[in-house]
Symmetry: C2
Subunit: 180 residues, 2 copies
DNA sequence: TCGAACGTTTACGTTAACGGCAAGGTTCTG
DNA sequence: CAGAACCTTGCCGTTAACGTAAACGTTCGA
């Protein structure tokens, strides 16, 4: 009920998968993946005799990273493009790295990539710092609200309303006033 | 060269500021702020005799939070709307809180807000966890690249190229292969 | 070999989040 | 009270990131 004609995905040797399979695994749509290719974020490793896009594990990893940068980090595709190396470069390096025997050239390629990865880490760390700041602010508001709650509960114990939450379940909110 | 007619912003008493002033401080545009109001994310506290929007410190805080949720956390305005209480509710609570003397009612308002703030914190923490995961992945790639670099430098020391980086500045990249 | 199931290109449509006017009202200062 | 400098409400335009549909090619099992 999921595969009748075409198949070959459970092939334990060929690490090349078609677009829909990859899309499903990553929680993307085929359209989105093609779009990413269109804007130069990635290019499939192969093209099954000039037609179908075929992705190898490396491609899938790159796609997963792209999705993370978009969903989790909230970057735009343009920003992502600046953060990653453009696909043309990646393809060239991939080839150069496999064909050359020159250790110096390999070193250059790796060195270049390392620099980029370190930049990515810095960018992500920066984002996380700002996010942590927001969390602290929110926690500040929460604590402030809890104090208010405690003050209210301490001042006087009103009629024992039926649904008295167990323990301390105070609350605070968008109004940072003590009220005049 | 920045204020000739109108002014009143350096007024140390009135905590009510006009849109452009607020926009400048937050790094937003007046248009964006009006748009946020249009989609129900906030409403100015006052309206100077039925015209100009006037924002109090509380409004500005809410705006700053909105901007953070958008820029730092990468949420859409729709998601932000679900995370914050809608403005109608906020206005009503704000009023109810100031007018009532009933401790029970105040408690209810604060409690409600607390729950929401705690939800916000959870959401932000969740996002940060995913971001941290991405950072770890990137660090993994970086370390992997460094290992490759070390291997290369160890195997043989090629011609002493001119620009030998000080210490260890290896690099890794988008190709996780050791090359056949 | 043939057809169901998938893939490809091309092109137009859609939604979110504003940008940028135009036409007119408000405010403070001189 | 004039007028510069801001503000207001429309309303149309734009960009990013896909969605969707049409017309056609590719694969592979029966």
């Amino acid at each position: 009920m999921s595969q009748s004609a075409q198949s070959t995905p459970p092939d334990l040797e060929a690490p090349l998968r078609k677009i829909q399979e990859v899309a499903a695994e990553l929680g993307l749509t085929a359209r989105a993946i093609r779009y990413y290719e269109e804007v130069g974020l990635l290019a499939p490793a192969a093209r099954s005799g000039g037609a179908y896009r075929l992705y190898d594990p490396d491609d899938v990893e790159r796609l997963r990273f792209i999705k993370g940068l978009r969903d989790d980090a909230g970057f735009s595709l343009t920003e992502i493009g600046q953060l990653l190396e453009d696909e043309a470069m990646r393809a060239r390096n991939r080839d150069r790295f496999r064909t050359t025997d020159d250790a110096t050239e390999r070193r250059a390629i790796i060195d270049d990539t390392l620099v980029r990865v370190e930049r990515q880490i810095d960018t992500l760390r920066d984002k996380m710092t700002r996010l942590a700041g927001m969390i602290e602010e929110a926690e500040g508001r929460r604590d402030h609200l809890r104090v208010h709650l405690a003050e209210l509960d301490a001042g006087r114990e009103p009629e024992p309303h039926v649904h008295t939450r167990s323990g301390s379940r105070p609350l605070a909110g968008s109004s940072g006033r003590t009220a005049p």
